[in-house]
């Protein structure tokens, strides 16, 4: 009797399409992920009590529409930045000494508010918000 030799089946994993799948995955990751870092500024809003105590001696920025006032003196946005820089808030050790009181009146967009807050933060100030008041 002739013994038939069984043919050994070669069980290789088909890898030819691996690179295609890999590139599809790359395209997926490129499209669905964000690499950009968010920009902004960090500020610690103190509690209302702290801001009330500090309101007497700290600089007060008041905004109403297009009007900006620093300690009741009208000035432009750029001038506000220069005046705050001149106060050298960054050199002050205590956070309470770096407080800048922000008063707002009337309707105000976030763009306007953000611009002023960014200016205070850029001058190393800490924003303390005071709710609606008379200018």
């Amino acid at each position: 009797m002739i013994k038939r030799k069984r043919q050994k089946s070669v069980s290789d994993i088909p890898v030819s399409s691996f690179s295609d799948i890999a590139f599809l995955l790359i395209i997926f990751f490129i499209l669905t992920t964000t690499m950009t870092k968010e920009k902004g500024f960090t500020t610690d809003f103190p509690s209302g009590q702290v801001s009330m105590r500090a309101a007497q001696k700290n600089p007060t920025v008041a905004i109403s529409g297009s009007d900006i006032r620093l300690n009741d003196h009208p000035l432009s946005h750029e001038q506000l930045f220069q005046k705050l820089l001149a106060l050298k808030l960054g050199e002050k050790q205590k956070e309470q000494d770096r407080l800048v009181i922000l008063e707002t009146q009337g309707s105000l967009s976030y763009q306007r508010y953000y611009g002023i807050m960014a200016t205070i933060a850029q001058a190393s100030g800490v924003v303390a918000v005071v709710k609606e008041s008379k200018m």
Partner: protein, 138 residues
């Protein structure tokens, strides 16, 4: 006499292409973050001199329709912001742990964003206000 030039059979070596591709996938997986905020439509405000914000555990957003979001979940009112922030940062330590990224549409009014900022502060969050580089507006 004319010499016949031997034709060279050039072939691009593609054996390592798959390996390179997988390395690239690993790179993208490790150093990228999925955007959770696709559904939140907003145009951020602009200001000069902004710095890169470090990653934070909590993101609060106000979209163009004045809707408030914590991470990618819309919340019904501003009261939920304080408790949401308090709950999410209570186990975190240090200034980095209590940083809350605040994203807000540039045209949103004071009556909407101010209570949210106040609620974040009351909840113990350190506000990192997100924006884009631009000129100082007058």
């Amino acid at each position: 006499m004319k010499h016949r030039r031997k034709k060279n059979n050039f072939s691009v070596p593609i054996a390592s292409l798959g390996d390179i591709a997988f390395l690239l996938i690993i790179f993208f997986m490790v150093c990228s973050k999925f955007s959770q905020d696709v559904a939140i439509k907003l145009k951020p405000p602009t200001a000069p001199g902004l710095r890169e914000l470090s990653a934070a555990a909590v993101t609060i957003s106000i979209d163009e329709h004045d809707h408030i979001w914590i991470q990618d979940k819309e919340i019904p009112d501003v009261e939920a912001v304080e408790w949401g922030v308090r709950g999410m940062i209570k186990t975190k330590q240090g200034a980095k742990g209590r940083t809350v990224i605040f994203r807000c549409h540039n045209a949103v009014g004071k009556e909407v964003f101010e209570p949210v900022l106040e609620a974040i502060a009351k909840g113990g969050g350190l506000i990192a206000a997100m924006g884009e580089d631009g000129n100082r507006e007058e």
